[in-house]
Amino acid sequence: MTGQYIIRRLLIMLPVLLGVSLIIFIMVRIIPGDPSMVMAGPHATKDQVEQIRTQLGLDRHPVSQYFIFIGNLFRGDLGTSTRTSLPVTKEIMARLPNTLLLALASILIATVLGVLTGIIAGVKQNSKFDYLSMLVALFGLSMPVFWLGLMLMLLFSIHLGWLPAVGAESFKHLILPAITLGANSMAIIARMTRSSMLEVIRLDYIRTARAKGLKEKLVISRHALKNALIPVVTVIGLQTGTLLGGAVLTEIVFAWPGVGRLLVEAILARDYPVVQGVVLLVATMFIFVNLVVDILYAYLDPRIRYQ
């Protein structure tokens, strides 16, 4: 049953992946004006423009252009950066590990702290901790990532001098960006865990567990938590998306050499092959993470598979 479910999910994913590639393909080609002229820049000669046109295959029929694009994708060829003349794959690969490291650290912080806070707040509903943590969570939800980053930098790097402000040379460099990027997700995860916990705690089987004299700690950890965390898994999956998007802003604030910064640099320089490559990569990563989450969800909650 699980195998069938995974196959079904994979099949649903395919059209989305194709759709994403098609949207990006179309977007790059409907740039107002002639894309090859835009890419070549205002001072380019006619020959240079022509060269870019052939390079991008813009002289061919759009449908065949798309097939060439897809074919190249499968061979790992994302084209050449118009800014650095390096292969886009090479540009991305140089930056990707940094972004993955940052995203993983952030999701780890967000999950551990978010789930813990959510559980305590839920179990001790209407307590001081509950109110305070949910207020902080609401703050986290409303905080612009880039501002939080700057404020943390102001406090911990400039005033206290504890942590480095910019760069990515050591573990110490990772701390501030990871907290900045994770803060928003942490708030959402904490809120979700709390409300899910509150829902589960009121169910009959928890009352039964309590009625048979089980210690409250066991009721929570053995019985309630298992079911309460199921919806949290989905939220964590969705949060990776927010993280990948937020990474763009965080990387700019902390001069973190990741793909997010690469994307902004490429947008400002109108380096379309790089924009296309980064967006395609990030969207694909997001789709895969959600696939994994869906499968995990089905594993945790067998009812899903039979729907």
């Binding site: 994403v20 409303s142 880039f146 700057l150 102001l154 509150l198 927010t242 763009v248 802003l249």
Partner: protein, 291 residues
């Protein structure tokens, strides 16, 4: 006779009164409402509230610290930060409103058509929505900006388009819930056209959750637009926009913290206000969700 009318009218009135009553009893929601009102007042009455001309610069007073005349200090070109922050509310309000209008006007019809016709139409529209949702967070808006070029109008279009799938989903689910209700069936049985059913019954009845949701989305719209402004992809200088102001102050954070701090604080407080109000509104409208 009047008494009968009173009684007949009562349920509807008491429902919205009940919602308002529940809303007013929540302190956090009221704080949110006050913040939102202050935001709206600053946006509308900016010319009367600002102490100085937001564009007037004075290179002799670059990065000046807060003072009585310039309560939030001066920015990297010696402009009054408080006045720029007040004027910045205008841009944020404009962006938020436009973004939501684009999202609702394009997304809601898509969702209604999807749910009403079902079958192949639904399948195709839903795959389109899935595809758009596959671009995480701000990424779709960023990509659109890359294609459209930088600027205020393009930021509004880009963020607006990236909210289409959210409204399409929302409209679809509310139409699915009312599509098979008796009044729709009745309308169809007396020969109403699809167009008429959609326009007269489905649209008005699916609108209220969308309106509520769109107030909540003001927060996201403001946050995203400020993010794009911060990246230097938004409005052209010297127009005061919170994200761009923050970006301008970022470089001077070591010597003049206030230039980046206050515009960011404004974004934070405004977004918090919309979130508080939104949370309260949602709980007041549907007490079952209150956990």
């Amino acid at each position: 006779m009047e008494e009968i009318f009173d009684k007949a009218e009562k349920p509807k009135w008491s429902q919205s009164r009940e919602v308002l009553h529940r809303l007013s009893k929540r302190i956090t929601a009221m704080i949110g409402l006050v913040i939102v009102l202050i935001f709206l007042i600053s946006a509308i009455f900016a010319p009367f509230l600002a102490l100085h001309d937001p564009l007037e610069h004075s290179l002799g007073h670059m990065l000046a610290k807060p003072s009585w005349d310039y309560p939030l200090g001066r920015d990297e070109l010696g402009r009054c930060i408080l006045s720029r922050v007040i004027y910045g509310a205008r841009i944020s309000l404009l962006i938020g409103t436009m973004v939501i209008s684009i999202g609702v006007l394009l997304g809601a019809p898509l969702g209604i058509i999807s749910a009403y016709y079902g079958g192949k139409v639904d399948f195709i529209i839903q795959r389109f929505v899935d595809t758009m949702l596959a671009f995480p967070g701000i990424l779709l808006a960023l990509t659109l900006i890359a294609m459209l070029g930088v600027g205020l109008a393009n930021v509004m279009i880009a963020v607006g388009i990236s909210t289409i799938p959210i409204y399409a989903r929302l409209a679809r689910s509310s139409v699915l819930a009312i599509k098979s209700r008796q009044f729709v069936e009745a309308s169809r049985s007396i020969g109403a056209s699809n167009f008429k059913i959609i326009l007269r019954h489905l649209l008005p009845n699916s609108l209220s959750p969308i309106i509520v949701q769109s107030t909540l989305h003001m927060a996201t719209a403001i946050l995203w637009a400020a993010g794009l402004g911060f990246l230097g992809l938004g409005i052209n200088p010297p127009t005061p926009e919170w994200g761009a102001m923050l970006n301008g102050g970022r470089l001077y954070i070591r010597v003049a913290y206030h230039v980046a701090t206050f515009p960011g604080l404004m974004i934070f407080i405004t977004v918090l206000g919309f979130n508080l109000l939104g949370d309260g509104l949602r709980d007041a409208l549907d007490p079952r969700l209150k956990t």
